[in-house]
């Protein structure tokens, strides 16, 4: 068993299923992010691990010990809330010392540890200040210090950066990650910001409607989504429905709606072993597509599928262009290109180059990967 194990946990609120059979098992020191849209169950899962709410079914283990029945004050956890939850009637020093005081640690040791913790978050000298005298970023760091100083088994963070301005948010990402690495504490981080998740995590669990759809490294979540929701939620992807078709006894293609056929690269085909007639989702990111004006001379070894379409919209982003292209079957595809000078016009007919090797296929039911 890993250091933090969540096993088949379920939680209902009235008729609403908030957490539906969620499981994962992570090693000590792992930074796991629960990522998903509002209402997907990520915060509820976090609160179940903390002990603020009890699961209807399932078990949670920290360091091989079952936590069921244990209220939060008997679990060795540290929590950082979205609103920091600093005690307004206590100084920074008293706030950070609180957990240690509750653990009956001697005063002189408390003083030393508090000093070290404030040093770590670069707030030395702020001991006697009150929370209302601090900026958002400073309050955040006090909240972190307070949670870390007790050296918990598990650190739980509930969207801690949501209330900060963008610049601070980006800065704090690396701060939190740095502190976590130094302390080596198993961490569960909740956010709806995929940028944060991709930048900070060792593992990401993408959630929707109470389930974990895929739990994997950031690289694999981005490049090998195993579920169409994950593909659509992370980064930008074009997702097209299609049916696998055998072509020429040797290669497979995907038939999109309306009869458009895309050939698959060899590696893709071998990996998946699709059967004829199987329903799939075809995913490709806008940055892996390109546009050409004319049908070039196609050789047998060409790596690209070419599909005709019409430019519906153009968006100038500064460092790149985005085009919304309508295919002959009515479906819309987003194409991103760095070619900002030679622009296409709206209404112009063009051809989209689909790279054989960058096409990502997901089986219709969507595999749910768990480590």
């Amino acid at each position: 068993m890993g250091f933090l194990k969540v096993e088949n946990v379920c939680k209902k609120f009235g008729k609403t299923i908030a957490v539906d059979n969620v499981s994962f098992d992570i090693e000590k020191g792992t930074f796991l992010t629960l990522l998903g849209p509002s209402g997907c169950g990520k915060t509820t899962t976090l609160r179940l691990i903390a002990g603020f709410i009890k699961p209807d079914k399932g078990e949670i283990f920290i360091n091989n010990e079952p936590q069921t029945g244990k209220p939060p004050y008997q679990r060795n956890i540290g929590v950082v809330f979205q609103n920091y939850a600093l005690f307004p009637h206590m100084t920074v020093e008293e706030n950070v010392a609180f957990g240690l005081k509750m653990r009956r640690i001697k005063d002189d040791i408390i003083k030393k540890k508090v000093s070290e913790a404030l040093d770590l978050v670069m707030l030395k000298g702020f001991e006697k200040r009150y929370p209302k005298e601090l900026s958002g970023g400073q309050q955040q760091r006090v909240a972190l210090a307070r949670a870390l100083v007790i050296e918990p088994d598990v650190l739980l963070l509930d969207e801690p950066l949501s209330n900060l301005d963008l610049k601070l948010r980006l800065q704090m990402r690396y701060e939190i990650k740095r502190l976590q690495k130094i302390a080596g504490i198993t961490t569960v981080y909740v956010t709806h910001d995929q940028g944060e998740a991709l930048a900070m995590s060792d593992l990401i669990a993408v959630m929707n409607q109470g389930h974990i759809l895929q739990i994997d490294t950031p690289w694999r979540i981005y490049n090998n989504p195993s579920h169409e929701f994950v593909a659509e939620f992370i980064g930008e992807t074009n997702v097209l429905k299609g049916i696998a078709r055998e072509i020429n006894h040797t290669s497979t293609g995907i038939e999109l709606e309306g009869g458009i056929i895309l050939h698959l690269g060899l590696t893709n085909n071998e990996k998946l072993k699709l059967y004829n007639g199987e329903e799939v989702y075809l995913c490709i990111r806008p940055e892996h597509l390109s546009l050409v004006r004319m049908l070039p001379h196609k050789t047998k070894y060409d790596e690209f599928n070419l599909v005709r379409g019409k430019i519906i919209e153009e968006i100038y982003v500064g460092s790149y262009m985005e085009y919304l292209v309508e295919l002959e079957n009515g479906k819309l595809v987003k194409v991103r290109t760095e070619e900002v000078l030679n622009r296409f016009n709206i209404g112009e007919v063009c051809y989209i180059k689909f790279d054989y090797n960058k096409l990502h296929i997901i089986r219709k039911k969507g595999d749910i990967n768990c480590r």
């Binding site: 004050y73 540290g78 809330f81 939850a85 005690f87 609180f98 209302k132």
Partner: protein
């Protein structure tokens, strides 16, 4: 913008107050008119040296403090449940009970207490099953304290609901996640943060209790008095306006001073918000 308020305060409050102050310094003669416009402080010396007066004064403050503290002890949990209970049913029930009690008219309420506390009342009838001796509750300090606490507890509860609601739940959760059990969380987080509300409740309760009239009149049965009863009796006996005015001034001063002392000493406990 405060002009209209000043216009109201002057005739309705300050002028009557000033006239009472002036009359208290006048001479009194039972043979001549209500008061003689000659200045003297003999009223004050009479009042302050009267042993009965000192007795009643101490009694009043003692009762008022007891009521203040008991109402807090009983009212806080009620307020806490109304503020925090996940069950709407409990919230609503407690709230309705509190509001109804608070708005109930004094006289019928006190008659009910007379029935409960009397020698042949509910409490003593039940006690008779166990012992021979009935407990004397009417005509004692305790009886008055019970009656006043019953009236002031809902007031305390209603005042405390909002301050408790304003304490973010995440603060309590935070304390628990750091290792504080429910009791520690209450005393270290909830209680200190609700202190301003507690002070308001205490001052208000004390002010009402210290100037109570009907309750000590009916439950004291003439045996136990509070300040307002004393003023009423002394003044009512002789229609001695200067004396009555003096007693009124003394009562007001006592109430204000003690309230101020309570406010000051509790205020020291409140830290930076």
């Amino acid at each position: 913008m405060i002009f209209p308020a000043i216009i109201l305060i002057f005739p309705l409050f300050l002028i009557p107050l000033a006239s009472i102050l002036i009359i208290s310094l006048f001479k009194y003669s039972p043979l001549q008119s209500l008061w003689i416009p000659e200045f003297t402080i003999e009223n004050y010396t009479n009042v302050v040296t009267s042993p009965l007066f000192i007795d009643v004064l101490i009694s009043t403050i003692r009762i008022a403090v007891a009521v203040m503290v008991l109402s807090l002890i009983l009212g806080y949990p009620i307020a806490y449940y109304i503020a925090r209970s996940p069950s709407n049913f409990i919230k609503r029930t407690l709230l309705i009970i509190s509001v109804l009690t608070f708005f109930m008219s004094w006289v019928p309420r006190l008659f009910a207490w007379i029935i409960i506390l009397g020698k042949y009342g509910v409490i003593n009838t039940m006690l008779r099953l166990i012992t021979e001796e009935p407990i004397k509750l009417l005509g004692t300090d305790l009886g008055i304290i019970i009656g006043l606490t019953h009236a002031m507890t809902p007031l305390t509860a209603l005042i405390l609901i909002n301050p408790i609601k304003n304490i973010d739940l995440t603060l309590e959760e935070s304390a628990k996640s750091l290792g504080a059990d429910n009791i520690q969380t209450f005393f270290k987080i909830t209680l200190p943060l609700s202190l301003p509300g507690i002070i308001s409740a205490l001052i208000l309760t004390y002010s009402v209790a210290v100037s109570a009239f009907i309750t000590p009149m009916m439950l004291g049965q003439g045996i136990t008095l509070m300040m307002s009863n004393y003023v009423y009796t002394r003044f009512g006996e002789t229609l001695n306006f200067p004396l009555g005015a003096t007693l009124a001034v003394v009562l007001l001063t006592v109430a204000l001073t003690t309230s101020y002392i309570i406010n000051l000493s509790l205020g020291k406990l409140v830290k930076v918000r």
